[in-house]
Amino acid sequence: MKIQDLSSLEYILPGTGACAGCSSTIGLRIIGKALGENAVCLMTPSCAVASMGMTPKTSYTFPALNICFASAGAAAGGMSMALDSLYEKGRLKGEKPVVFTWVGDGGTYDIGFQGLSGAAERNDDFIHFCYNNEAYSNTGVQRSGATPQHVPTTTSPSGKKMPKKNVPLLMLEHRPPYVATASLAYPMDLYRKVEKAKKMTGFRYIEIHMPCCTSWKFPASETIKVSKLAVQTGSWLLWEAEYGKLTINAPTASLVSGQKEPKPVEAYLKAQGRYNWLWKSPQQAEYLEGIELNIRQELDFMNGRTRL
């Protein structure tokens, strides 16, 4: 299947309040096509909520519940189980809709993590999508648990001291039916993963890397280019796992196996204005070496993890 073969039905209508070049909206557009019409969405406070349109208007065609920030896991799990009850009792007829969440890294890594971990452990029946733009972009770029080390934000003005959490891995180790990472630069890989997840039941987690032109400071036309560089440099890894059994996806697979060297990370960092300070920093060499070492360690770790 090629991108031209995707359904021409649009689930995101023109007129969203999202920034030009918004990665979240591109991702949701692809996901809508993969999930189809029988789907219900839950969202927590984020750019997607802020840009979907104000009451009584919306640019999203699917039914969406805007729940509280820490609530994604429990609300989606509860909604899905309640639907099971209503369909079993014959109060609703037909096919149960797919329940999915559309939640940022704040709602996944930070405030929503407890509820999400609970839902994964219980194997609640929904797909959690984390659109990871590596900061609280909606409130004007504050650090989150997903913000990479050294990145300055309005609440880490001299650069974040500690590295980011690896929530996809933490989710993997809950051993739910499905966990996957994805990138907008590989839309058919994303589409395939959503289609696959849609056919499964239980807890499914898909995290999409979402370069944000506004907070990462790159031109709106370069969202896909930056997404691709993240994958090519090994800064974002593509993989999927069923019940904890891990498979690395192309093109990350050749980096993990050592067949191919990752592109030098400067190419990725130089595409983003949020790293401009690095090129003037006396610690440039030390920081770059640390970033590359971290990439190498992650690739090695994933290589070992595939053998479990």
Binding site: M52, A82, E121
Partner: protein
């Protein structure tokens, strides 16, 4: 009708089972625990055709039932004390979102310091969330109020909290009558909401809303909350006719004949107050008991109509509003009676906090102290 001898928590669980609830999410906390244990066992052994989600916190319990209500399920959760405080955000959300929900709150003191015993600080801290609040004082009243709560919430689309005192009521066994299932089903037909969060209905829920559109959401919630006082009375009448279980309205009034002094309280203290009233009457003081059964909306008109001209109202609060004259009931009562042109006198105290024992003899002494204040 079946006569049962069991605890308040058992009465609650039996009523939830009878109400044909579709979905339950809960997190255990003392003294609520046996409510959710019993419901979990009903679901597990097939006595109750519902789904039960064992969530990892009260915030998640409230989130799960709110989202379940949005797809049109009849839902239930239960908590106490810190659990209710932890739900606070979702209480606002679900009332604002006009979600039909029923929750039991087994009243317990809040920390610090930790305390397992009853007072009403947990519930009164949720006064302004937009939830309807009932207060039951016996196991029969718990059973009846749970069924009434579903009837009310599905009529006004405002969630209902049914409160009763931790341990004193939750763990006390008393006789109560259940209702035949066909009568419950007649009173509570399956929930058919006007709208569901579902592709067949469409639409989004809870979007960002500009001020001009936000205001009507709030004013309509307030209008329907005010309407709920009458809705509660109407459904109480309907329930009484169907079940034969006597329903006493907004207040249970004890020995009002010729009374000049009215002793207002809520929860189990209101039952003990009947003994205090008997003692005062024996001593020649024309006292009456007023036990509040619906705290939100506050039945301002009913209070005014019960109190005759020149009445003295003595308010016993099992809660405290720090830095004020006393408790919440005192404030509500004073505000409700402020416009009276006749000479109503009101005073009150906070007592019974953290499960402090309240025997009738103590209530008599406190009443007499308050009478001195009003002399």
């Amino acid at each position: 009708m079946t006569k049962i001898f069991d605890t308040g928590n058992a009465a609650c669980a039996l009523a939830v089972k009878a109400a044909n609830v579709d979905f339950v999410a809960a997190y255990p906390i003392t003294p609520q625990t046996s409510v959710v244990e019993k419901i979990a066992s009903y679901v597990a052994n097939g006595e109750m055709q519902a789904k039960y989600l064992s969530v990892e916190s009260e915030h998640s319990a409230a989130s799960a039932v709110a989202a379940a209500s949005a797809v049109g399920a009849r839902v239930f959760t239960a908590t106490s004390s810190q659990g209710l405080l932890y739900m606070h955000e979702i209480l606002h959300y679900s009332a604002g979102g006009r979600l039909s929900m029923v929750m039991t709150n087994v009243n317990r003191a809040v920390c610090a310091p930790w305390c397992l015993y009853v007072d009403h600080q947990d519930a009164i801290s949720q006064r302004d969330t937009g939830w309807i609040q009932f207060f039951a004082a016996s196991n029969q009243e718990i059973y009846d109020m749970i069924l009434l709560a579903y009837k009310v919430t599905e009529e006004v689309n405002i969630p209902v909290m049914v409160n009763y005192d931790g341990f004193l009521v939750s763990h006390s066994s008393m006789p109560f009558d259940t209702l035949e299932q066909n009568l419950v089903d007649k009173f509570l037909p399956p929930y058919e909401p006007s709208w569901r969060l579902h592709p067949k209905w469409g639409g989004t829920f809870g979007n960002v809303t500009p001020s001009a559109e936000y205001v009507p959401f709030r004013t309509s919630l307030n209008a329907d909350m005010k309407r709920t006082g009458q809705v509660f009375l109407d459904f109480s009448k309907e329930y009484e006719k169907l079940s034969g279980h006597l329903q006493s309205g907004h207040f249970e009034v004890y020995r009002p004949e010729g009374a000049t002094h009215f002793l207002l309280s809520m929860g189990s203290m209101g039952k003990e107050m009947e003994l205090a009233v008997d003692t005062l009457r024996k001593q020649g003081i024309p006292a009456a008991g007023l036990r509040l059964r619906i705290f939100r909306p506050f039945p301002e008109e009913a209070l005014n109509s019960i109190l005759p001209s020149g009445a003295k109202l003595l308010v016993f609060d099992r809660n405290m509003v720090y830095g004020s004259m006393g408790g919440v009931l005192l404030q509500e009562a004073k505000a409700s009676l402020f416009d009276r042109k006749d000479s109503i006198r009101v005073t009150g105290i906070s007592l019974g906090l953290g499960g402090e024992d309240l025997p009738a003899s103590l209530l008599v002494n406190k009443a007499k102290e308050m009478m001195e204040v009003l002399k």
